[in-house]
């Protein structure tokens, strides 16, 4: 109970003196926030396609796009091209679903962003404006619910295309996303335990006082990151697209702006996942090494600074997404499944129990959330991380193709091979 009252105290401390805006100003400011966030988001996504191409080029010792306005105009040239291209409607597609699928994959990726706080509250004459489009008390649960929806777009695209490759891509994506969603949800439970709430602002405030979660809950961050890669269908988990196996996977039959929507939604969900990682594990908009930014008095400068900090954190994760994409090869499908179900999920479950036990112990020892609390949590975390990565590094978790075979079976296959070689020699 001491812990929860401590969190409650933090919450009250974080509450500014000014009441939030209400009435007509609230309505107007929300609309302004929606428009600004949407615009920044879409332009950001467009620039991300350029960033991806540039980073991939640099990693491969190339220059990347540098013709249309020194390269900066490339996203707009791409957009123009996509609008001008023909919208193909292949024979045999299920038309309503074929048209609906890109929309269904685009909207959840976009909407999830609306509950993520991106800056310190801005004080105005009419009251305090929270730098979040919709400050929902269910915050994080809303995001989990919406990101689960994006799988429908991909599955419907695969199914309605009436194409075997698209169907396989859609099936893979449904299995992959359902598997990793569980690990993702489980990985965040330690975070929610520490914060004692699912509202993202509470989680940020808790980290401002108790240290970033990545320091205290590294394993949870690791699981969450891997699951986020799987959820956004990025390499090394891009099996739904898998261009070398499935042409283009679920969007094989799509062209022009409908294809572009899938593309945009991939980048949009990348941005959302990056923002989530920054919020849940890297303190969100919290300015590092300071504490006054969370109690106020708030000011416009502080808001700008915190937005900048948040942007830097998100950009770092976006870079990580791209960096990993151009480094790691794709998992095999059975490896993907066994990693998700046999490793990530048990690990996440065990970690919840462990963190809960540590918190219970700390609470029993009457240690208040603070420096001491964070130190103990951090040192427990270091021990777990060292053990976990030592095991992971030995490569007994991601099994080879014959991993599930009985040794007798392997011996039998060897004998068959030997006999075949003997027969070949006898024929010669």
């Amino acid at each position: 109970m001491t812990f929860f009252s401590g969190v409650l105290a933090l919450l009250q401390a974080a509450d500014p003196n000014q009441p939030p805006v209400s009435g007509t100003p609230f309505f107007l400011f929300t609309i302004v926030k929606m428009i600004v966030v949407f615009t920044v988001y879409m332009i950001g996504v467009a620039l991300l396609t350029l960033a991806e191409r540039k980073i991939s080029a640099w990693i491969q010792d190339r220059h990347g796009p540098n013709r249309v306005g020194k390269g900066w105009g490339q996203p707009f040239a791409d957009g123009l091209k996509n609008i001008m291209k023909e919208e193909t409607m292949p024979a045999g597609v299920n038309k309503p679903l074929f048209v609906l699928a890109p929309i269904l994959s685009f909207i959840p990726a976009l909407t999830a962003w609306c509950v993520i706080p991106f800056g310190a509250p801005l004080p105005t004459r009419w009251g305090r404006i929270d730098m979040v489009v919709a400050d929902m008390p269910v915050g994080f649960l809303f995001i989990l619910a919406l990101t689960s929806l994006s799988v429908y777009g991909i599955v419907l695209a695969g199914w309605s295309s009436n194409n075997k490759y698209a169907l396989l891509g859609g099936l893979r994506s449904s299995a992959q996303m359902v598997s990793y969603e569980i690990s993702m949800g489980m990985a965040t439970i330690p975070v929610l335990l520490l914060a004692g709430n699912v509202s993202l602002n509470t989680i940020i405030n808790q980290q401002a006082w108790g240290g970033w979660n990545v320091v205290n809950l590294t394993v949870a961050f690791f699981i969450f990151m891997v699951a986020a890669f799987a959820e956004t269908n990025r390499l090394p988990f891009d099996l739904p697209e898998a261009e070398s196996e499935l042409i283009a996977g679920y969007h094989t039959e799509y062209s022009a702006m409908k294809f572009s929507l899938f593309f945009i939604s991939e980048y949009a969900s990348m941005v959302t996942a990056s923002a989530l990682m920054a919020t849940l594990f890297f303190g969100g908009w919290d300015v590092p090494f300071t504490s006054h930014d969370n109690i106020g008095p708030y000011s416009g400068w502080l808001t700008l600074l915190s937005i900048g900090i948040f942007l830097i954190k998100v950009l770092f994760f976006l870079f990580l997404f791209m960096w990993i994409r151009w480094t790691l090869p794709r998992f095999r499908y059975d490896q993907l499944m066994s990693l998700g179900w046999k490793f990530m999920l048990p690990l996440a479950l065990g970690y919840i129990i462990l963190i809960a036990a540590v918190m219970l112990g700390l609470s029993a020892a009457d240690i208040q959330p603070g420096r001491m609390y964070a130190t103990i949590l951090g040192s427990v975390n270091v021990a777990i991380v060292i053990i976990l990565f030592a095991i992971l590094d030995r490569g007994r978790i991601i099994s080879p193709a014959y991993g599930r075979m009985h040794p007798r079976e392997i011996e039998r296959m060897r004998q068959v091979t030997r006999r075949a070689q003997l027969a070949a020699e006898a024929n010669r």
Partner: protein, 166 residues
């Protein structure tokens, strides 16, 4: 023949995932910042060097008076394996032979360079040149004037005395 599957033992003791991944990431990061290692040739602005023995579109060399060196001997249309040279010989008042019509269909040409090798007057040459786009098919039939107007360097034929071109 029965199926033959090669089963290889996994070298479990040598395997590493985390360290290998981190090393891979380090490698890509190193390339990301290796600005001076970018290998792309920015084509229209900079061009990669071509061999002195490059055989491209033809060029007819001229004498000091600006006339074609060709004496219309007919060796090049004879030797041409692609049959792409059209030559109609003519003769002036002093009895000098010259080409009335000399056309090379660059679409038919296979750029073997036999015409240059066989030419006794060192008149027709294949050139060190590769940017030949045209808007029409007819544009690829080069007449005598066009062949004389070309100014790009010509191919250096292979010399048996100096096979490596040193």
């Amino acid at each position: 023949m029965s199926i033959s599957v090669k089963v290889v033992e996994r070298p479990v003791d040598d395997v590493s995932y985390v360290r290998a991944t981190l090393r891979g990431m380090g490698s890509t990061l190193k390339h990301l910042f290796a600005v001076n290692d970018r290998v792309t040739v920015q084509y229209p602005e900079e061009k990669s060097p071509i061999s002195p023995r490059w055989r491209g579109t033809h060029r007819m060399l001229t004498t000091e008076t600006g006339k074609a060196k060709c004496v219309a001997c007919g060796l090049c249309p004879t030797v041409c394996p692609a049959n792409c040279i059209k030559l109609v010989p003519g003769e002036d008042e002093e009895g000098n032979r010259y080409p009335l019509v000399f056309e090379i269909d660059e679409f038919r040409c296979i750029f073997c360079g036999y015409c240059q090798e066989v030419c006794p007057e060192e008149a027709i040459h294949v050139g060190r040149h590769y940017e030949n786009s045209e808007y029409s098919r007819e544009g690829f039939v080069y007449d005598l004037q066009r062949l004389m107007d070309q100014s790009h360097p010509v191919c250096e034929m292979w010399d048996p005395e100096d096979p490596k071109g040193e």
